[in-house]
Every structure is written in C-alpha cells, then in structure tokens.
C-alpha cells in the first residue's frame, strides 16, 4: 500500500475530525484508518438517508404511473395515456446519464458535499411540485408538460446523487472496510423502494379507491411528504465536512480542470469507463431491475395477484434480503468484488425463467377453475353497474361494463372472475350490445398462506441476486478511477447501466410480450441476454484485485 499521501492539514478544509489538528503532516491513509466510528457512522448516515430519499422520490412516480396517466394525460385512450407515462418514466431514466455528467463534473470541480446537497434539493423540490401540478382537466396541456419537465429534473438530480454519495463514503473509508461502508449506500435504492411501497400502501389502505384517485386525492400525499424528508436530510448533510481526499486535492491545487475531457477523452481512463459499463454495471442494472421492479409488475399485472399481497410479497422480500447488501459488501473486502458480482449475474441467468414460471403456474386460474371452486358472491346486476372506460369511437361511444363473481377454493385461494360487456351508443341515440364476453379475466387473486410465503421466498432469492451484484459495486467503481475525476467517471457508467439497461427492462419486456404473446415469459430474455453478455465480459476482462490505495 502506498503511504505517500503526506499533506498539510487545515482546520477549515474538512479535517476537523483529524486527531491532533496541530500536526501539520499526516498520512491520509492513517487518518482514514484512525477515524472514529461515530464519525464514519455519521458520514454513512448523512449520505445514505439523502440517497434513500432521492430513490423514494424517483420511485413513487413510477409506482403511481396509472393514476398519474389518468390525471395528467388526455382522457379517451387509456393505453395512450399509460404509454405517455411510461415514456416519461423512460425519459426519467434516459436523462440520468446527463445528470451524471452535469453533477459529476461539478462534484469533481467544487467538491462532493455541495454537489450532492444540490441534487437532493433539486430532487425534493421537483417531487413536491409534481404533487402540486393541477390535472389535465384543470389546465390542459400545461399539466403533462409541467410533469414532464419536473420528471426530467428528477432524473437529472438522481444522475448526480449516487456517484456523490458513493464517492463521499468511499473517500472516508479505510482500505479494508471500503466495500463494507459503501454497501450501506447500496441499501438505499432498495430501502427507497421499500419506503415508497410502504407509503403508497399506507395512504391507499386508509381511504377509498375513489378518494385515492381523485384529482387532489391521496395519490398526491407521497409527493408532498417528500419535502419534509428532504428538509431533514439537507439539515443533516449541511453539518458534514467535505471528503478528506477531495480536500487534499484541492489544498494541493490538483483538482481536475476539465473532468469530462479527462474522463472520456483520455483513452486510458475511457477504456476503464467502457470496461466498468460492459463488464459490470450493465449486468448489475438488469439484475437489479428484474429482481425488484419486473418481479413486482409481473406479480401484479401478469399473475394478477391482489394489490395488498403483491406489494407485501415484495416488501417482505426486501426486508429479508436487505442485510445481504452489507454482507456482500463486507465479503467483497475479504475475497474481492468481481466474483460476487459475477455469481449474482450467473444465478439470475440460470434461475429467472424457472422462478417466474413458478409464479405463473401457481396462479393459473384454469387449474383453479377445474378444482370446483365455491362461488362466494356475484354482482351480476349491480346498481349502478361497474362502468369503467368510455371510449369515443367514430360513430359511437363504447362503454365497458364488468360483472364480477368471487370464488374460493378449499385451500384458501380466492379470486375474482370478471366478464366484460360492451355497449355502444351511436350518435342517433341507438344503443347496441356486443356479444357477451366468453373469455373472462381472473383478477384480485388471493394466495393462501403457504403459497404466499413460497412467493416471498422466491422474491427474496431474486433480491438476493440484486444484493450480490449491487452490494460491492460502489467500492468496485470507486477503485477504478482516480480521485480528481472519480465522481464523473463512475457516475456515467453507473447511470447508463442502471438507467438505460436496467430502466428499460419493463419497457422492452412490454414490447417483447406484445411481439410474442404466446410466451408470457418472453420479456425475461432481455435481462437474461444483457446479463449473459456482461458476465462473459466481466469474467474475462475484469480482475479481482482490490485497489488498496484510492487516495491517488
């Protein structure tokens, strides 16, 4: 290990916690080794809480996509509205790499602390304002435009946050604990998901569906709460000092003049950026999204498990798996980062289809229907009828009416059978009826306890893979790049890997499913393919050596 990092100390340059401030020459590595546990704990807490809140802010939009689409996009075509929201969702992810460039550059120029403070304020402000935008009904096209702009700002802020937080913690961590300490930052994305899921569930379960989905209804509360969370986090972060490594560079006048140029136009560094992207982060991104988001979407939309169960299955999976972020971060300090990440990808590649197929088979209502279920209730002629969409057609208005019958099996499985009938009222006032629906859909499936916990166990496995690829990756990226351009260099591949490759898992999954409807698992080929490519590149080109000196 190099011990050449001797520099002068100054009490106003972020070395306030150095024992013996009057000592002028001090080894930076010794300083990191001797840092008090309370100091490093507060560094980790300040960084992690803020990052978790940013993830929370980012997720609630995606989770409330259906409600948002009806509020902010022209009514009439539900699919178009949903796609518009998905497009905004994707735009949020696509803009993340730009945020990585903008804030990464700032972080390498002015410092980590103030940059990731700025991203936090930007994210919190945008989230809060989304909750205040009036609906399309009230202000017309300005509503979706405002939402789009705020969503883009959210993406930009997220692009700058992670690199700052990971770098900040890593630059406070001693050599033998870098993976362990930075793994706390890695828990934040999952905990942010947990907080977002929990908050939405809490609000939704305490009011009616109509009150939640109303123009100024409960769906806005999670957005408003964000401002309070961000306020607390900003207060905590303001008290923190700058990273000691960055302060040292600044004191010596060795910060980068043009971080973007040094990161991406210097071949030696650029080829490491490419290696980080294609050999690690690309695969990590798809494993991460498949384990948490695709699984949730699959349980809810493909398996049609009822809202509460589909959400709590994910919540329990997160609760049980989250400690493993820290475990694998810690383990990576002992055995290296590479093979843990590669093993996570391999397990995903090998088991995704069997696991998701199990979800599908165990919620197969054809099988349930053949087991002579007991009819509980039928609302065949409800008054008023269960009217949903009214669709304007060329010469008529088509209205969908649903008839629900509720069934139960001996083993405790419950489900709702929905038949949809369509009436068309023409301009001449004449009403016609379509042929009654012969292919009912089965929704709101309620799993018995044993099956429910099996699902929790499998989701836990999926998130365990996430912890394997994601737990060690902050330390891995930090060690790849020099201090003066670390924020920029590690942020871009991270956000391309996660934002683009990972963020498009549901989108490309949807496209593949539409293209090949015969195979309900076809959407998995995208993450499996990307993870396989990344596994091959990572296995062959990456090395497992831990870079002990990140002070250079």
């Amino acid at each position: 290990m190099k011990r050449r990092s001797i520099y002068k100390l100054s009490s106003n340059r972020g070395y306030d916690n150095v024992p013996g401030k009057n000592v002028f020459a001090y080894s930076l590595n010794n300083y990191l080794d001797s840092m008090k546990p309370t100091t490093i704990r507060s560094v980790i807490t300040a960084s992690s809480v803020g990052t978790m809140i940013e993830w929370y802010d980012f997720y609630i939009f995606g989770m409330l996509a259906k409600t948002i689409s009806t509020q902010f996009f022209p009514e009439g075509n539900a699919t178009a509205a949903l796609l518009s929201t998905l497009a905004i969702f994707a735009a949020g992810f696509i803009v993340r790499p730009f945020g990585a460039l903008v804030f990464g550059r700032l972080g390498d120029l002015i410092g980590r602390k103030y940059t990731f403070l700025l991203t936090l304020v930007l994210m919190g402000g945008s989230t809060f304002l989304i909750g205040l935008v009036p609906s399309y009904k009230a202000i017309g096209i300005a509503a979706p435009l405002l939402v789009l702009i705020l969503r883009l700002l959210q993406g930009l802020a997220l692009g700058g946050e992670y690199g700052g937080a990971a770098t900040y913690v890593a630059e406070h961590a001693p050599v033998h604990k870098r993976g362990y300490y930075t793994s706390w930052i890695q828990t934040t994305a999952t905990l942010g998901l947990f907080a977002a899921l929990g908050m939405i569930m809490l609000v939704k379960l305490n009011m009616s569906e109509a009150a939640f989905n109303a123009e100024w209804g409960g769906w806005r509360y999670p957005f408003w709460i964000s401002i309070l969370l961000v306020g607390i986090s900003v207060y905590i972060r303001l008290k923190m000092a700058e990273s000691p490594l960055f302060s040292k560079l600044k004191a010596e006048g060795k910060t980068s003049i043009n971080p973007l140029k040094e990161s991406f136009r210097h071949k030696a560094n650029f080829k490491m950026v490419l290696l980080a992207l294609f050999g690690a982060v690309m695969g990590q991104g798809v494993i991460w999204y498949t384990g948490q988001f695709y699984a949730q979407s699959f349980l809810e939309n493909t398996c049609k498990i009822e809202f509460e169960q589909s959400r709590t299955i994910i919540l329990w999976g997160i609760v049980f798996a989250t400690p493993f972020f820290v475990f694998f971060g810690w383990l990576s300090d002992k055995i290296g980062r590479k093979w843990i990440m590669m093993a996570g990808m391999l397990l995903g590649i090998l088991t995704y289809r069997p696991i998701f197929n199990y979800f599908l088979q165990e919620t197969n209502t054809r099988e349930w229907r053949s087991q002579e279920p007991v009819l509980l209730t039928v609302n065949e002629n409800p008054n008023p009828p269960l009217k949903t969409d009214s669709i304007k057609e060329a010469k008529a208005v088509a209205t969908l009416y649903h008839k629900n019958s509720h069934w139960q099996l001996n083993n405790g499985i419950r489900f709702t059978e929905r038949r949809t009938d369509t009436t068309r009222q023409g301009n001449d006032g004449f009403t016609s009826f379509d042929v009654p629906d012969q292919n009912p859909t089965h929704i709101d499936k309620h799993l018995p306890s044993s099956l429910y916990w099996k699902f929790v166990g499998l989701v836990f496995l999926l998130i365990l893979y996430v912890t394997m690829v994601y737990g060690p990756i902050a330390a891995f990226l930090v060690e790849m790049f020099p201090t003066k351009i670390r924020y920029t260099s590690m942020s871009l591949p991270y956000h391309i890997g996660n934002g683009v490759f990972g963020g498009l898992v549901p989108f490309i999954g949807l496209l593949l499913t539409t293209s090949f409807p015969a195979d309900p698992l076809v959407g998995l080929w995208y993450p499996i393919g990307v993870a396989t490519l990344c596994l091959v590149i990572g296995t062959i080109y990456l090395r497992n050596k831990i870079d002990k000196d990140v002070t250079d």
Partner: protein
C-alpha cells in the same frame, strides 16, 4: 487469456452493429401507423434506437480496444491512467 480477450474483441466489434441492425430491422417490420399495439408505435422505436446507438458505438470501441490488446494489462494505479 490475453489471446481470448483479443479474439473476443472481434465478437464485440461485430455484435454492436448487429444489435443496431436487428433493432432497425424489427422497427421496419413492426412500425405501422394504423396499428394499435405498442410495438407499432414509431415513437417507441425511435427512442430505443436513439438510446442504444451510442451505447453500441461504445461496445464497438470496447471491442476495438480489446482486439488491439488494450485490456491485456489493467492499470495498477491512477498514475497509469494519466498516461495517454
């Protein structure tokens, strides 16, 4: 291992344009202004191809570097990254 790294570089070089070709080909097949499915929507295809093109170019550069033996030795310290 270095020989494998170099030969695989050719694969990455070929794979990158192949991915873009595949995407463009699928787009031409599926885009249909009269269609109602997501896969018929040209906007979605434009977004995806626009995103993946620079990434594919990155994969090509990665393949080229690998083929040239640039990854035979990975830098041991930041000093080596300053050499360009």
């Amino acid at each position: 291992m270095n020989v494998v790294k170099r030969y695989l570089g050719i694969l990455w070089l070929v794979l990158a344009p192949a991915v873009i070709y595949f995407l463009v080909d699928r787009a031409i097949v599926h885009i249909d202004p009269a269609g109602i499915k997501d896969i018929n929507n040209p906007v979605i295809w434009v977004i995806i191809i626009t995103i993946f093109t620079p990434i594919a170019v990155g994969l090509m550069i990665f393949g080229w570097y690998a083929f040239r033996g640039e990854y035979d030795h990975l830098p041991e310290s930041s000093k080596e990254l300053d050499e360009f």
